[in-house]
């Protein structure tokens, strides 16, 4: 990219890595207990966790992808933002506090609470691993693309090296800092990301005398004959009945997926009680909402000040909207900052995903399923978790390198689809439906997971269209790229049928314990370290 100075870009990113590493080493010289490693001893405040939730949630896809989509497709790009934000109300009203009160470390803690432990934990852990793996792969793949775009590294070896560096730094964060260190990385990154977006948004609006209508007027003028279409929906999803149905499906998936994302759910265990969990979500909603409003200004700003022709002509296409805009506004220095923030974002998100996957493997599969929660396995759980971090980190580095250059943007939507189909129905039934049983839980988890995966494999994402993974093959019979509109209702139905059709009776005593704990916090895991200690 013209105007780009790789040395500046790498330099600013290196400063971020150096600062976060110092923080990670300082906050925690090797957490020695499972609670310390998985939850940072529940010692974060609601506000800190809210900022970290925003850090976990606002991936590079949100920063570069959504703004790029707005810059190119106008209003249709903005539609993502709305589902992305409204989704947090599900977490606030139905999930966060009850989950905090009933679980300790993982999503499976809650799903298996009143069910038969081993089958439900296994299912919940598999679903957790599936969601985190898809999400991780999307992030690491994005890192490869960003290297080309922002650092000017175009040869494959150079990109592979950069992806490996990102992966290794992430492994160090998680191994050394555990959840405490990871949370601080999220917090630092969230502040950096939101502050950068804020400065740029104010800068753009300032150019137009803080008049949004004037900015949109420039968008229309620069857009030529398509200009007016930028201000209303339909440019991207309005083409045919299939694209419209696809958008409806995506909208439903986004709004129901967030509260089923395991790495978001796990963050609620980092605070001492339900009230702080509530505060976390409110902070997250404020920060994420504010950020998404700024991305609207940034996206339209890129359309007005850079223009779609130059964006489409740049190496990363839509993803280059923000870097080009930064260069336009503030030259190489601001571009360097944006590039560094984009890498920091990837780094922080993969760290959050990795600790979630490692916790689920060590706590759910190793400790509770394989070792059947034996007393002597408690200590080895932490070793297993650390090894899981290393393995997951290496797998994601390999995944990022292997898929480099391929378009795997659908993986984020897929992660949301699995979260909304397999996790959320089971979570809501467990928390609110007295009759729900083990059979119902297994049907909704495996049913949601299997339906989502099957529909994706036989969708245009994988074959049958020029943009498919296998463009030359055609075994697609499902027309939509987003399976949520089918898989989510089906999973709710399966959870219901599995429950009413089996002879199994719900465990009334466990149900009483779960319900009382969920609503009152009695018997909940509490802060073991002093509150707010870093």
């Amino acid at each position: 990219m013209d105007n780009s100075n790789p040395v500046v870009n790498i330099g600013i990113f290196a400063v971020f890595v150096a600062i976060t590493l110092v923080v990670v080493f300082r906050v925690n010289r090797g957490p020695s207990s499972a609670a310390g490693f998985y939850t940072g001893d529940n010692a974060f405040t609601g506000r800190q966790n809210g900022v970290a939730l925003a850090g976990d949630y606002l991936s590079a896809a949100a920063f570069l992808g959504i703004t790029g989509a707005i810059a190119l497709n106008g209003y249709d790009g903005f539609l993502y933002s709305i589902g992305f934000l409204v989704a947090w109300l599900v977490a606030l009203l139905l999930v966060a506090e009850l989950l905090r009160n009933t679980g300790r470390f993982t999503m499976a803690d809650v799903l298996s609470f009143r069910m038969r432990q081993r089958p439900v934990r296994t299912a919940a852990a598999l679903s957790t691993l599936a969601v985190t793996f898809f999400y991780l792969l999307a992030q690491m793949n994005g890192a490869g693309g960003l290297v080309a775009l922002l650092l000017g590294v175009v040869d494959e070896v150079g990109q592979a090296v950069t992806v490996s560096v990102v992966g290794v730094v992430m492994i160090v964060y998680v191994l050394i800092g555990g959840m405490k260190g990871t949370t601080w990385v999220q917090i630092i990154k969230a502040v950096l990301l939101i502050a950068t977006a804020f400065v740029m948004a104010v800068w753009i609006l300032g150019r137009y005398g803080f008049n949004l209508s004037a900015l949109l007027g420039d968008v229309v003028r620069l857009g030529g004959e398509n200009g007016e279409a930028m201000l209303a929906p339909g440019k991207m999803y309005g083409a045919t009945d299939v694209t419209r149905a696809d958008f409806l499906s995506l909208g439903i998936t986004l709004v129901l997926g967030t509260a089923g994302l395991p790495h978001v759910l796990m963050r609620f265990y980092t605070v001492p009680d339900a009230k702080e969990a509530r505060r976390s979500v409110v902070w997250a909603i404020g920060l994420i909402g504010g950020f998404l409003l700024m991305t609207m200004v940034l996206g339209y700003g890129a359309a007005a000040l850079v223009g779609s022709e130059r964006i489409l002509g740049a190496p990363g296409k839509a993803n280059s909207a923000i870097p080009l805009l930064a260069a336009e506004l503030g030259g190489p220095a601001l571009l360097g900052l944006v590039a560094a923030v984009a890498f920091a974002t990837i780094l922080a998100v993969v760290a959050g995903l990795t600790i979630t996957a490692a916790a689920s493997f060590a706590h759910d599969i190793y400790l509770n399923v394989i070792k059947r929660n034996a007393r002597d396995a408690g200590a080895s759980q932490l070793t297993v978790a650390r090894w899981a971090v290393v393995v997951i980190g290496l797998v994601s580095i390999a995944g990022g390198i292997v898929t480099n250059g391929q378009n795997v943007a659908f993986l984020v939507a897929l992660a949301f689809a699995v979260a909304a189909s397999a996790n959320l129905p089971t979570l809501l039934y467990s928390l609110f439906w007295r009759r729900f049983t083990t059979t119902g839980a297994l049907w909704s988890i495996y049913g949601g997971l299997a339906t989502t995966m099957t529909l994706i494999v036989f969708s245009p994402v994988v074959s049958g269209s020029p943009t498919s993974i296998f463009p030359s093959a055609d075994f697609a019979w499902f027309p939509l790229s987003n399976p949520g509109i089918i898989s989510i209702p089906l999973s709710f139905l399966l959870g219901y049928l599995g429950t009413v059709l089996s002879a199994e009776r719900p465990d009334a005593v466990k149900h009483a314990e779960m319900e009382v704990r969920a609503l009152t916090g009695l018997g909940a895991e509490h802060a073991t370290a002093t509150k707010g200690s870093a």
Binding site: F78, S213, A232, G251, I285, E513
Partner: protein, 118 residues
């Protein structure tokens, strides 16, 4: 605070007020029934409302392009206004829930916990 295992057999004795302790006893208590009623009575209708309002918005954006392209002020379209209203409603619902939970749920939770944890 392990109230589950060690106290399940302690039933209220005649003539002496002892804290009810087993999970099922708490679950049956009128205070807890009221807490659950309040929590669900607030969260469920509000969830139905915001999901319906979001779905309406998505359907309008999906199938009523002309309507959403209507200019309200200058270059600000109706679609933009409705989209921004989704942000506003999300912020308002969050604030309303916190207000409700602090005033109507937390005190009941405190009462139940105090009664149990004596």
């Amino acid at each position: 605070m392990d109230i589950a295992e060690d106290t399940t057999e302690s039933r209220p004795e005649t003539g002496r007020q002892r804290p009810e302790t087993s999970w099922q006893e708490i679950q049956r208590s009128s205070e807890f029934v009221e807490l659950r009623r309040r929590q669900r009575g607030f969260a469920f209708p509000l969830t139905a409302f915001f999901l319906a309002w979001y779905l309406l918005y998505v359907l309008l954006a999906d199938y009523a392009h002309e309507f959403m392209a209507t200019k309200v002020v200058g270059n600000i379209t109706l679609g933009l206004v409705l989209g921004l209203l989704q942000f506003v409603s999300t912020f308002l619902i969050s604030a309303a829930y916190v207000w409700f939970a602090n005033r109507r749920l937390d005190p009941v939770v405190d009462d139940i916990r105090q009664r149990v944890e004596v």
